[in-house]
């Protein structure tokens, strides 16, 4: 077990820089999730920590030791790959024992450790099979087992659940979390699935185009996204963004014409009279028939999901469709106008130019 520290880590392929200086400290026993859209550099960061990619700048420390120039095998880490990377010609037992044999464990010790891991992962009885005789979920567990037996300082996961079907994914997600609670090994987990990120991680690192946009707990990211990108990436369906002009005193925002939203107590006086981006999550709209301040939404179409109803519509003549999630089942005809209100503390304001939170 160990802490992992990244200091201004940079990666360039030739002249193209793909990671632009990421810094973070991952505490001992923490489960941290690196999340971001495809191609943003998540795998690259993970592979640099593993030692599979040379780093072009900065420092990576594992357990207080700089590992920049250490081979993967000397870093005392274990990794689960997206395609599991099980050795196809070896039995499950040998797959798990491969690393132990190389580290010169005794036969008895190897057997003991593999048996224990197999029991923990419900793989007993499958130890003599070859990987191709296993189901997707079982392969995933073997890949986990191969990491566990070595008792490394750090676990690295690169989208380990993305090859599984939706139901199994939910189940394995839960198992992973439980496993972590038992073993308490520092874990770094890469995914582009924000639900996985929110449910698994103690903390999340949101990466966009090779830079860390925000690092924080899932709730922090949900409630106080630091940038428009994070706001849009975390939460499903994603946040609505509406262009608006702040009033002179910064206490309210004008969306087109005279549609007006009251902001929370302190408002944003520094940005008075400036154009900004307003962000509101679909689940934070309420219907309030009696409110004279309500903003009217003209319904375009609806989707009834059972537990919720998704309403898509427009404010006055804004071009973009606004998404609203209402609990329960509702039947609204298109063109119907809904009076909506939003609690002032659920309104996020972003700088129109930089995307930073105001």
């Amino acid at each position: 077990m160990a802490e992992v520290i990244l200091e201004k880590v940079v990666k360039a392929y030739g002249k193209t820089e793909v990671i632009h200086g990421i810094s973070t400290a991952i505490a001992d026993g923490e489960f941290i999730v690196i999340v971001g859209p495809s191609g943003c550099g998540k795998s690259t960061v993970l592979r640099m920590i593993a030692g599979l990619e040379k780093i072009s700048g900065g420092i990576i420390r594992i357990d207080g030791r700089e590992v920049n120039n250490l081979e993967p095998k000397d870093r005392d880490i274990a990794m689960v790959f997206q395609n599991y990377a099980l050795y196809p010609h070896m039995t499950v037992f040998n797959n798990m024992a491969y690393g132990l044999k190389l580290r010169k464990f005794t036969k008895d010790e190897i057997k003991h450790r593999v048996d224990q891991a197999a029991q923990l992962l419900q793989l007993d009885g499958l130890l003599e099979r070859k990987p191709r005789q296993l189901s997707g979920g079982q392969r995933q567990r073997v890949a986990m087992g191969r990491c566990i037996v070595r008792e490394p300082k750090v676990f690295l996961f690169d989208e380990p659940l993305s090859n599984l079907d939706a139901k199994l994914r939910v189940q394995m997600r839960l198992e992973l979390r439980k496993l972590h609670e038992r073993l308490k090994v520092t874990s770094i987990y890469v995914t582009h699935d924000q639900v996985e990120a929110m449910t698994l991680g103690d903390r999340l690192i949101v990466i966009n185009e090779g830079a860390a946009e925000q690092i924080g707990s899932p709730l922090e990211l949900y409630e106080k996204p630091a940038t428009k990108f994070v706001a849009g990436f975390i939460g499903s369906p994603s946040m609505n963004f509406i262009e608006a002009r702040l009033s002179r005193d910064g206490q309210s925002a004008n969306i087109q014409g005279d549609v007006r939203l009251a902001l929370s107590d302190d408002g944003a006086p520094d940005f008075g009279d400036r154009k900004v981006i307003i962000g509101i999550r679909p689940e934070h709209f309420n219907i309030s028939e009696s409110n004279p301040q309500a903003i009217p939404l003209s319904v375009d179409h609806i989707e009834i999901l059972g537990a919720d109803t998704m309403v898509y519509g427009r404010f006055a003549d804004t071009p973009d469709l606004i998404t609203i999630r209402l609990p329960d089942i509702h039947h609204f005809k298109s063109e119907k106008v809904l009076p909506l209100s939003v609690a002032p503390d659920k309104i996020h304001i972003f700088n129109k130019d930089t995307g930073a939170r105001i």
Binding site: L52, K73, P88, Y98, G99, R103
Partner: protein, 293 residues
Amino acid sequence: MLKRTHFNPSPLPYLLVTPQILITIIFFIWPASQAVFQSLLVEDAFGLKTEFVWFDNFIELFSDQIYFNSFGKTIVFSSLVAFLSLGTALILAATADRIVRGATTYRTLLIWPYAVAPVVAGTLWMFIFDPTLGIVAYMLDMMGYDWNHRLNGNQAMALIIFAASWKQISYNFLFFLAGMQAIPKSLTEAAAIDGAGPAWRFWTIIFPLLSPTTFFLLVMNIVYAFFETFGIVHAVTKGGPAGATEIMVYKVYNDGFIGLDLGGSAAQSVVLMVIVITLTVIQFRYIERKVEY
């Protein structure tokens, strides 16, 4: 199931397979049956009459010590050629799989020998090792090693083994490289994290996963060494000195076209035919089942 009547009887399919069938008949079935037929005949010294002798040619062949010597030489020759060319190609492919810079040039250069005709390859090696003109022979001489493959049977054998292996390296290299590139990179990466160094990764991960390719190539190389090396032997040693490099294909030619023992030579080619058919059957058997790993 579709009924026969769904298809209009048309001569087109037959027309389309005709060329293939004609080629097979003219260049394989007919000569093969001629060989089998010839192997049952004996011609007198003046070519005046031929006599049908059943299996006498084969009986004579199998009681001939020279033929068994030739058989032994062929075994030595083909195993060494297969071993050398497979081994070298494997090392080269493993290197090519790792290097990034100049990889294309490296690969292209390695593929060239395959485009060289056997006779040309043989001539090339003969010149390099020529006892009076050859550069290697000259260098060996300076190091105090007397090289003359025209007199020394073992040296002659070594020379055709080198030439034949060299020519086959490209072919093996291509297959090995393709095989290696089909192995997911994450496997070697996982092994690296598990603690294996490059050589250990090669022996425990890459080599076992290449075994289907290796097996296929082994059969192909044996077939090559048995049958396609005629040109090399002909150009380099002509079976000499004193029959030291007379492998089976070359003996077929020597006995038939030089010695004019048509029946005996035909019997030898029938034996070779049986060998190649056996190898092919083994090959197909295994390809169907795949090598288990």
